[in-house]
């Protein structure tokens, strides 16, 4: 994976000045937020959220037992299990499987973990073409870009841009009708499905009780990537395991609603091993690669709950920062509020020191999170960790005094007078020059609310 989160400051400056991007993003995210809200009207969201949080908490706090159980049951179903600590190890294993089957083409369905390990460019080095089959992923693959959203990878692109891209790369006529563009992608990809030997997918859930792999999607590409091939490789994180099959009644009602505002996604595939003796098609072998890559280091820390994430993308859609800068600015496959946690936590604070600061801490993310992760509190804790180790002396001075000010009313009153006076000069603009080019700040009133209230000016 090409991690560029250290360059966050320059990346977001570039993205934020792109008006087209901001308009694409705001249109798409606002629509997603509306649809989500509507879809939760028929169900008791607080109840589902509480149940989901508890089930995930149970799963993560018993991870070794659940993984062992999953492993036993999946093996009994005929699957092969491989644990990989690093992306390199996971990729090497997948390559081995591909070579065993002589695969030249692989069809891949959308999965964040496969982005994390960079399996597509890795296989390409060995002459194996791995084709993205989700429409959004296919678009970004053709453009040579990375996804900019967890569930809507091409959210940053307009139909006109996509039409031009298809024209250049696959020779379609210039037509920006989404139905036309989708039909063209279907035409090209259908042939890939019918000729590929290897299918690569992620997993939304692994069920310890039954050894099932659960994949949720809308287009039918994951169903084909896992059914039309000789061998299917599932690549997923160790944190995806949950205890019971019946727990799906909670997660299935949350996932579709949270990600796309659907009561249930068009397809839920419950996959239990390779093709049976009495079955005519389906993969001859199913391999499940369970990736750690920093996840187990979160256990026992205050960030353990970050492992509860089911990657629905709801926190991205409601985040004012994500809406302004889009996914690429984060320089990581995991963007948005959850990405600002996962990226430094999985790949090291030193590789993404600015991401936990890419938040207004408004708490919208926490409110919509279907598994109740306290995202904004987590971000605050990460800031504290990062700054306690690396803050400059000026920052330490400011925050120390800020704390004192907030704790002492007299000092607070004095400081607010100073800030109001400063606001009337150009000094504040000079001090906050990073802020002003992009936003307006409301005028400070000459007197504080308290003073106005005391004098009877407001009642």
């Amino acid at each position: 994976m090409d991690l560029r989160s250290r360059q966050f400051a320059s990346l977001y400056r570039h993205e934020i000045s792109n008006g087209q991007l901001r308009s694409n993003l705001s249109k798409a995210t606002l629509q997603a937020v509306d649809k989500r809200a509507q879809s939760f009207q028929e169900v008791d969201f607080p109840f589902l959220q509480k149940e989901a949080r508890n089930i995930k908490r149970e799963a993560i706090s018993n991870l070794n037992e659940l993984l062992s159980r999953f492993e036993d049951n999946a093996r009994r179903n005929g699957c092969k299990i491989f644990y990989a600590q690093t992306p390199e190890k996971a990729n090497a294993y997948i390559l081995g499987v591909a070579q065993k089957f002589g695969a030249r083409t692989a069809v891949k369905s959308k999965s964040m973990v496969t982005e994390e390990i960079g399996v597509v460019p890795f296989l390409a080095k060995y002459g194996i073409e791995a084709v993205e089959t989700d429409l959004g992923e296919y678009i970004v693959q053709l453009a040579g870009e990375s996804p900019s959203h967890i569930t809507t990878p091409a959210i940053h692109k307009s139909r006109t841009e996509i039409s031009r891209l298809f024209h250049e790369k696959i020779g379609t006529e210039l037509n920006d009708d989404p139905a036309f563009l989708t039909a063209e992608a279907r035409r090209v990809l259908r042939e890939k499905f019918l000729s590929a030997d290897l299918g690569i997918s992620g997993a939304n859930f692994l069920i310890a009780e039954t050894g099932d792999v659960v994949i949720v999607e809308n287009e039918g590409n994951a169903r084909l990537s896992t059914s039309a091939v000789k061998v299917h490789v599932v690549v997923t994180g160790i944190e995806k395991v949950i205890s019971n099959f019946s727990d799906l009644r909670i997660f299935m009602r949350l996932l579709g609603r949270s990600s796309t505002g659907q009561k249930l996604t068009s397809y839920v595939s419950l996959l239990r091993g390779p093709k049976g003796e009495d079955e005519t098609d389906g993969p001859e072998e199913v391999h499940i690669v369970l990736l750690d890559n920093g996840r187990s280091n979160l256990l026992g820390t205050e960030h353990q709950e970050v492992l509860h994430c089911i990657r629905c993308g709801a926190c991205l859609n409601v985040c004012p920062v994500y809406r302004s800068i889009g996914g690429h600015a984060y320089g990581s496959v995991y963007p948005g509020p959850i990405g600002s946690l996962v990226t430094p936590l999985y790949f090291g604070n030193e590789n993404a020191p600015d991401l936990p600061f890419a938040s207004s801490l408004c708490g919208n993310c926490t409110e919509v999170c279907p598994v109740g992760i306290e995202i904004h509190h987590q971000l605050l804790a990460m800031r504290h960790e990062i700054k306690s180790k690396s803050g400059t002396s000026v920052e330490r001075f400011i925050f120390k005094n800020y704390r004192k000010t907030m704790l002492r009313p007299g000092r607070y009153r004095l400081m607010s007078k100073v800030v109001r006076a400063l606001a009337r000069t150009s000094l504040l603009r000079l001090l906050m020059r990073g802020w002003y080019p992009y936003r307006e700040t409301p005028q400070f009133p000459p007197r504080s609310f308290r003073e106005m209230y005391k004098s009877g000016e407001i009642k």
């Binding site: 099959f245 019946s246 727990d247 005519t280 353990q304």
Partner: protein, 218 residues
């Protein structure tokens, strides 16, 4: 095959978990649905029908197999190949014999292990039975020994009986279902869809564009 990192990962998990409490979740049996359809077939069917309709699919209730055939025959494209799944043959003799008189019809047993995938892609329509249907979401559940035709076709006809209809996902995700046989269970909810281009909905991406569910009264 190369050696994996199981032991290292488990050691790391154990080390981390030593510092955290084990937690066991109490699961509530309460249904999260605020509005539940009545238990009789008619209310369940109405709910199923309206959910599927919202998604762009269609559910109809027919008297008998002759009516089911009429429906499939008029809705499918007369000259295009139709694939008939095994359950239809084993459960609905009259429907099967009517369908077999159509042009370009193939039955599941005519295919054997290792068949050419391009063959499966030739069918524009498939007729299949189902494991269950869910009124809450307009979902049909397929469990099949031959996955591809139903995943590739443009038109999916599902023939169901009233008894197949369950009120909600609560009745689907049970211990009983957990024991399903075979390698797969697919929950299909309306046509295949995407909104990846400017959030505009387009149906019929890689899976069926038309989903018809026919409930047999008799």
């Amino acid at each position: 095959m190369m050696e994996d990192d199981r032991e290292k990962i488990f050691a790391s998990i154990r080390k981390g978990l030593r510092q955290s409490e084990r937690y066991s979740a109490e699961r509530s049996s309460k249904s999260p649905l605020l509005d539940k359809p009545g238990p009789d077939f008619l209310s369940l069917f109405e709910k199923f029908r309206s959910e599927l309709k919202t998604l762009g699919g269609e559910a109809v209730s027919v008297q008998d197999e002759a009516e089911a055939f009429e429906l499939i025959n008029t809705r499918s494209h007369a000259n295009e190949a139709l694939f008939i799944y095994e359950e239809i043959k084993s459960k609905y003799a009259l429907l099967t014999s009517s369908l077999s008189e159509r042009k370009s019809v193939k039955f599941q047993p005519e295919f054997s292990h290792g068949y050419d995938r391009h063959e499966a892609a030739k069918f524009k329509g498939v007729v299949t039975g189902c494991y269950a249907c869910v009124a809450e979401t307009g979902t049909v559940i397929l469990r099949t020994a031959m996955r591809l035709p139903a995943a590739l076709a443009t038109q999916l006809f599902v023939v169901a009986r009233g008894a197949d209809l369950r009120p909600s996902l609560d009745q689907i995700f049970t211990e009983d279902t957990a024991r399903f046989g075979g390698s797969n269970l697919f929950l299909v909810t309306g046509p295949s869809r995407t909104a990846d281009i400017e959030k505009q909905l387009v149906t019929g991406v890689h899976g069926p564009k038309d989903v018809f569910v026919i409930f047999m009264k008799s």
